[in-house]
Amino acid sequence: MKIIYLSVFTLKDYFRRTWLSAEIIMIAILILLYLDQYWLLSKSEVYPALGIFSLVLVTVNSLRMTNLETNSRIYVPLTKALSRGDYIAGKAVAVLSLDTAILTLMYVLSFLLTSVKQQFSFATGLFHLIPLLGVLLIAEGIILCCSPLVSHKLSFFWGVLILVFGSAQPWKITTYVFPPIKQLIISSYENNNLLTLSQYFLAIVYIVGFYSLALYLFGKRELDFEQK
C-alpha cells in the first residue's frame, strides 16, 4: 500500500504542477495525424502509431515524474517509512498508471474513429495492446535507470539512444541486442509465432534487467541533491 500511496502522491503533485500539459500536446499531435481520412486507417497503421505514441509518452513522463524530487524535497518522503526500493517502485507505478490510462483512452478513440473496429472486436483490440504495455515497461525501465534521479543527468541521452535503436532496429544483427521495441509494436497487430515468443522473452529480460539495475543504482547512490 505504501507504494500505491506514494504513486498517488506523485500523480497528484505532477497533475497540479503541470496540468498534464505535455500529455495533452502529445494526444493532440496523435489526433492531428488521424485527421486525414482517419476512417480508412487499418490496424497495421493504428497500432504502430499507438506504439510510437506510448514510447514517446512514457519517455517524457518517466523523465518528468521520476525527477520531480531531484532536489532537497526528496529528503522528506525518504525519511518516512519508505525504503529506497519502495520509493522507486512508487514512482514507476505512478508513471505506468498514467500512461496506461492515456494509452487505453487513445485506443478507445482509435477504435471508434478508424477501421480497427472492422478488423478487431473491442476486447480483441484491447488484448492486442499487451505488447504495447511491454513497450511502456521497457522504455520506463530504461529511462528510470538512466534518469538524473538514479544515475546522472547525462545518462538520459544514452537511455534515449537505446530506445531509438530499439524502435528502429537498423541492423539485423542487433535484433537480439537492442530492446525489442519494434518487434513488440509489430506483434501487437500481426499474428504471433515462435519467433514472437522469443521476442517476448527478450522483452521480459530487458524489463527485469533495467528495473533491477535502477533499484540497485538508486539503492547505492548518494543522495546529495541539495548542493546542485
Partner: protein, 298 residues
C-alpha cells in the same frame, strides 16, 4: 544510558577532499545535542550520513544500534531549506505522507500534529501561500508525524521573527518533555544554549569540542571569590602574588594558572583573616566558547 546515535571515527571525502575527518559523537536517549559550526564545516554532510542519504568513506555510524540504511521512518527530519511539495495544503501533505508511511488512523494523527505545531487554522491553505514560519511549523509537523524517538532539526529557528522563534522553541521544549532525542543544528548559539543539554562543535571538518554544555561552559579557570575581612595590605599583596582582580568591595576575580593554584590562594586568604563567603566559577557564553574553540575571534 542508551545511545541513539553513535558516530565513531567517521571520514567522508568528496573528490579527494575530506569534508569530515575523524568525527566521533554520541547522542543519548532523551538528550538534545546541539551541533554547531561555521558554514561549510560539514554539519549538513554529517546529518545526511546519519540519515543514510550519504555513505561514509570510513568509520561507523549507528542509529538505534542499526546501520543508517535501515532507519527510514525511525528519524524525524526537518530540513534546513523549507522545500516541500507546495501544491498541497498542509493537511493534505501530512495526510499523504502519513498514508505512505502506513500510519494507523492517519487523520487523527494529522490533527494531533497540526494542533501541536499550531497550524490547525491554516491547515487547509495551499503551502505555496504559507509564510516561512508556517512552513517551518509544517516541516516540524511532518518530522514528528510518525512519532519518532529521534528528531534531527536542521536550523529550525533561522529566518523566523522573534515570536515565531519563541513558538517553535516552545514546541521543541514540549518535544523534549516527551523524552525525544534531538539533534539540533543551528547557527543561533543562544538558542542552542537554551535548548541543548549536549553540544558538539564542528570546525574544519572535525569535532573540536563536545560534551555537556554546562560543563563545557564552566570548564573555565576563572572564579569569582566573595570574601570579607581582608585588610588593605593583605588584599594588595594577594592581588600582586595571585593576579587577583578586585571587582568591587569584597568581590575578586581569580584566574587559576596551575593545579592547586586556587587552593593555595584560598589558604593564603584564610591565613590573612578573610572569611570566604562564595567561590563561583565564571561561566562563558556559548558564543565565547565557540569562538575560542574555532579560533573565530581571530
Amino acid at each position: 544510558m542508551e545511545q541513539v546515535i553513535e558516530v565513531s571515527n567517521l571520514y567522508k571525502g568528496f573528490n579527494g577532499r575530506n569534508v569530515l575527518a575523524d568525527v566521533s559523537l554520541t547522542l543519548s536517549k532523551g538528550q538534545t545535542l546541539g551541533l554547531v559550526g561555521k558554514n561549510g564545516a560539514g554539519k549538513s554532510t554529517l546529518i545526511k550520513i546519519i540519515l543514510g542519504f550519504l555513505s561514509p568513506t570510513s568509520g561507523s555510524v549507528r542509529v538505534f544500534g542499526r546501520a543508517t540504511t535501515t532507519n527510514s521512518g525511525l528519524i524525524g527530519y526537518l530540513p534546513e531549506h523549507a522545500s516541500y511539495h507546495m501544491v498541497f495544503s498542509g493537511k493534505e501533505y501530512l495526510t499523504l505522507l502519513g498514508k505512505m508511511s502506513s500510519v494507523t488512523d492517519v487523520h487523527k494523527r494529522v490533527s494531533e500534529v497540526l494542533d501541536l505545531v499550531g497550524m490547525t487554522n491554516d491547515a487547509n491553505r495551499r503551502m505555496s501561500r504559507y509564510s516561512k514560519g508556517m512552513l517551518q511549523r509544517i516541516g516540524l509537523a511532518q518530522a514528528i508525524l510518525l512519532d519518532p524517538s529521534l528528531l534531527i532539526l536542521d536550523e529550525p529557528l533561522t529566518g523566523l521573527d522573534p515570536s515565531g522563534q519563541k513558538d517553535l522553541r516552545d514546541i521543541i521544549l514540549e518535544l523534549q518533555r516527551r523524552n525525544k532525542s534531538i539533534l539540533l543544528c543551528s547557527h543561533l548559539l543562544n538558542e542552542v544554549e537554551r535548548l541543548c543539554t549536549q553540544i558538539a562543535i564542528i570546525h574544519n571538518t572535525a569535532i573540536v569540542a563536545r560534551g555537556n554544555i554546562k560543563e563545557l561552559l564552566l570548564s573555565n579557570n576563572k572564579y569569582i571569590i566573595k570574601a570579607v575581612g581582608l585588610s588593605g595590605t593583605a588584599a594588595l599583596e594577594l592581588q600582586e602574588n595571585f593576579c587577583l582582580k578586585k571587582l568591587s568591595s569584597g568581590d575578586y576575580l581569580f584566574e587559576e594558572e596551575y593545579n592547586g593554584h586556587k587552593e593555595t590562594l584560598l589558604r593564603t586568604m584564610l591565613d590573612a583573616g578573610a572569611a570566604i563567603n562564595q567561590l563561583t566559577p565564571v561561566q562563558k557564553s556559548l558564543e565565547e566558547y565557540f569562538l575560542l574553540a574555532t579560533g573565530g575571534s581571530q
